[in-house]
Amino acid sequence: MAQPQAAITQIGQARARIDGPLKVTGTARFTSDHNLPGMLYAVPVGATIAKGRVTAIDIARARQMPGVRAIMKRGDFPPMSHITPNFVEPLMADETRPPFDDDVIRYYGQYVALAVADTFEQAKAAADAVTVSYAAETPNVDPHLAAENTKVVSERGDAEKAYAGAAVTLDAQYAIAPETHNPIETHATVANWDGDELTLYETSQAVVNHRNVLADMLGLPRHKVRVIAKFIGSGFGGKLWPWSQSPLAAAASIKLGQPVKLVLSRPMMFHAVGHRPRIEQRVRLGATRDGKLVSLQHDYVNTTSILDDYEENCGEATPHMYSVPNLRVTSGLAKRNIGTPTSMRGPGAVPGLFATESAMDELAVKLGMDPLQLHLLNEPRLDEGLGVPFSSRHLKECLTLGAEKFGWSNRDPHVGAMKRDGMILGWGMAACSWLAARLDCSVSVELRQDGTARVASASQDIGTGTYTVMAQMAAEMLGIAVERVEVEIGDTKLPPGAVSGGSMLTASLVAPTEEAIAAAGKALIARLVAGENTPFSGAEPQTLAFKQGRIMAKDAQTSMPFAAALQTLQIASISGQGTGQGTFGAQRPKLSSHSFGAHFVEVTWRPEIARLRASRVVSVFDAGRILNPLAARNQIEGAIVMGIGMALLEGTEYDAASGAPINANLADYVVATNADVPALDVHFVEYPDYNLNALGARGVGEIGLAGAAAALTNAVYHATGIRVRELPLKLEDLL
């Protein structure tokens, strides 16, 4: 692929976000900030059983309460369609059943009614006054998992035989509690049916997909549905695909003929908007006495809901992570009376790497070997799973640079041997990987007479910095200042963009932006050639080029910026559109594209009061060219913060009797606070990956979480001698 042709000016600059002034002043408008004239408020009623059947819904009292416009339940609007997901249209939903579809309750919190009133207070009181009767059955939320079906995900050699013959073996089981995304902005929908078209202000990481699913579910033509998500209060995967609150709000607006706002409560964020499921994994490693891996077996099972099969692809990184001739990866599912799981930051690889990187550490202990050396020794030269080269893999450099910056060579391998200020220190490390790919994505560009440009795409900024990085890209390609670029995203009326997920959006935007600019340039050239009294009147179009925002003759004698060209032509603006082809999910890729990294973590341990804290983290990443180091470092730091939560704090607890996620709030489901986070030291080794796009950029949204929990629990082992194989760690395990 072509190398960038001009000097890099905008790319790689640490710069404040272009949408920052709106965010720091409270003027960025998130979904629930939309207040439309005549808007009503809707509050859902969730089931208080996890398995059984609704036998009656008594709305009499609620219906008579002040301000109440409707209490909707099954049968109050025409049945909606189920979704058969596919990634191509895209038409993705993890919970494929539309709301109120039948009377069967399959998980706690499943919506059974909707109260709509003039104010939030009235709607909430009415929702609380709805009385639902059930024929309840005992739910199955058993945390002990046995796969109901198993499939082989990846296999090479004979892993069992090699394991049986290995000089040193490790067989360990790991579990991860269900984690809930808990973006601080809860899911929300403001639905406005005008009698012909439906507009949805939506907390969506994928507006085009959301439009398709909602239109299909409601039986509306897709062009009659518009989804808008200008600012999203983060998502972490929880807002990737639509959930039931959105069609409910839409149905209420259609039925009542007024705009309806529906904002989920915090407890509802634990019910019907997905979560990372509970996962149990078994890792078996076989190695020579020198530490060369000869066999790797990775078997995992995750919970899924009764109706939908969500598979947590824990083995995503396993086949390419280490050089090992014999490998077998299998996955399985266990159905529970729990809402449908979904992608949560680094789905698959993040929990998978907790297991494999813990196992590598355990193996290192068995071998009496430094875990860093074990990693370096087993570094592969090509992707042994796919049998193809890596597009760009610099994990060795991440490991060695991280070790150097951390001071790893000073590590005393003996458990509990290192001390500071009366505290025991634990040092642990882990490597990580996350896929790098592109998605189909379209971008339009408008070049304007005043020298400004507008780039637009129905993509989203979920806090990852898309607004800013799009402006940087366009500015770079057009040779203008970032301030001169206007970015419009988050609206299905724009050219169909990519989802904000899988760390793929940034990489997906490069080619279509380039193409859109080229198209605009081509159109401009055509006008200049055809026009009278332009410097290029009558020239052959193929003798002209559009580079760095300038029209130039290929002999480079004359050139003119696009603004001047538009002024000469006396036209206000000229547009172009570009579409990039995705690589995600390609069956036979020629290259293995991934980002890599390494975490080095220090914990402090005070056994006398059982106090464990993360005290120092050094992380190094190979994530291609970094377009905006300020935003990129922030992404990584935030992911490490989430890793601290994953390792030490977070877990949704389902009550065995009722099936309720009983800690469904932010006081009982604890995430990391500012005080939980030590100084973080993040570095990038910058090797542009031009195989992925012309700027060499990959995404950085997820890679920081991968491996973080394992590095922490490996450090805990070094401090305490206790191997944490179930997350979150509980301090009683360390007593």
């Binding site: 208080t48 009061i609 065995a656 009797a657 009722s658 009983i662 800690n663 509980k730």
Partner: protein, 332 residues
């Protein structure tokens, strides 16, 4: 939230008269006093509290913090937790109280929360706070799902077979160690209740949590003058580094004389149906050398009779370590 009358009390008698119209001052009261609101509004949103009338007592001049004529510390009922924690008298003479308050909640909550409100805060038992669950504290006789359910955070001391909820306050733990007295005014006049007697153990009626009768308004709390040479500390252990309720906490106050413990007072938080203090455990320390063995003895005595639930047995050992460490810290 169900609707209610909101009235601003013009004076204390009016507030007391309004409160007295409720049949109970305990769970299910039809009249509630509103101070900081950090407990009441929270529980009203959950539907756990459903008062018909809410009486705002924020403008009754109950927010004073001063040294009383007899040397006591006088703490007004609506003095904000932040003001109390940062008050020079408290920082100087009641260090464990200042630390306890600052270890609780967040700055925003402490800026709103009041002395009386903190004493009256309710358990964080997840079943108590979930209206869809049975709960003997909300509805005596309905059952206690916590006993077979999620009870890691809950009490190991003072529980009954009807309720294993714990008292979540940090402030009250320190106040208990400092021998605080709660001053209340009711229709029939005022009375003083030592904090040690203020809370009622659950027994078969976990809905009854305090000695308060309908209409009784906490006007202030007093702490006896500081003991000469006494040093104190509050130590709180929890999963998260901040902004979380205690797994275990302790307020410890010690006076040393001639290298021996002349007097020790300590109370435990996070582990009891009410803030927990065992005089016998303090007696164990009197006259002994301030060493680990003595502290461990006191801790053992204090935890005597602890009844662990399925997921919180670790709290016994954790509480002991907490006590020992706090004593070591304060005597070193």
């Amino acid at each position: 939230m169900q609707t209610f009358d909101l009235v601003r009390a013009s004076d204390r008698p009016a507030a007391i008269a309004a409160g007295a119209e409720s049949a109970t001052a305990q769970q299910g009261a039809s009249v509630r006093f509103l101070a900081g609101g950090t407990t009441l509004i929270d529980l009203m949103k959950l539907g756990v509290e459903r008062p018909e009338r809410v009486v705002d007592i924020n403008r009754l001049g109950l927010d004073e913090i001063r040294k009383a004529e007899n040397g006591d510390l006088f703490v007004g009922a609506t003095a904000r937790n932040s003001d109390l924690a940062h008050h020079p008298l408290v920082r100087a003479d009641y260090a464990a109280l200042s630390q306890a308050i600052l270890a609780g909640a967040s700055t925003q909550l402490r800026n709103a929360a009041t002395t009386a409100g903190n004493l009256l805060q309710r358990t964080r038992c997840m079943y108590f706070r979930d209206l869809a669950s049975a709960c003997n504290k909300r509805k005596p006789g309905s059952g206690c799902p916590a006993i077979a359910g999620a009870n890691r955070m809950l009490a190991i001391l003072g529980t009954s077979n009807a309720c294993i909820a714990n008292n979540p306050s940090d402030m009250a733990v320190a106040m208990l160690a400092y021998d605080a007295v709660v001053h209340v005014q009711g229709v029939a006049g005022g009375r003083q209740i030592p904090l040690a007697d203020f809370y009622v153990l659950p027994g078969q009626r976990p809905d009854i949590e305090t000695m308060l009768a309908p209409g009784e308004l906490i006007t202030h709390v007093t702490l006896p003058p500081p003991k000469t040479g006494e040093r104190s500390v509050y130590l709180k252990l929890r999963d998260r580094a901040s902004y979380e309720f205690a797994l275990v906490s302790t307020a410890v106050a010690v006076t040393l004389a001639d290298g021996k413990i002349a007097n020790a007072r300590f109370a435990l938080g996070g582990v009891g149906a009410r803030p927990w203090r065992v005089r016998k455990a303090e007696d164990v320390l009197r006259g002994s050398a301030p060493d680990e063995r003595a502290f461990r003895n006191a801790a053992d005595t204090c935890l005597d009779g602890a009844r662990p639930q399925s997921h919180n047995g670790f709290k016994i050992e954790l509480a002991k370590r907490c006590i020992v460490h706090a004593f070591k810290q304060v005597t070193s």
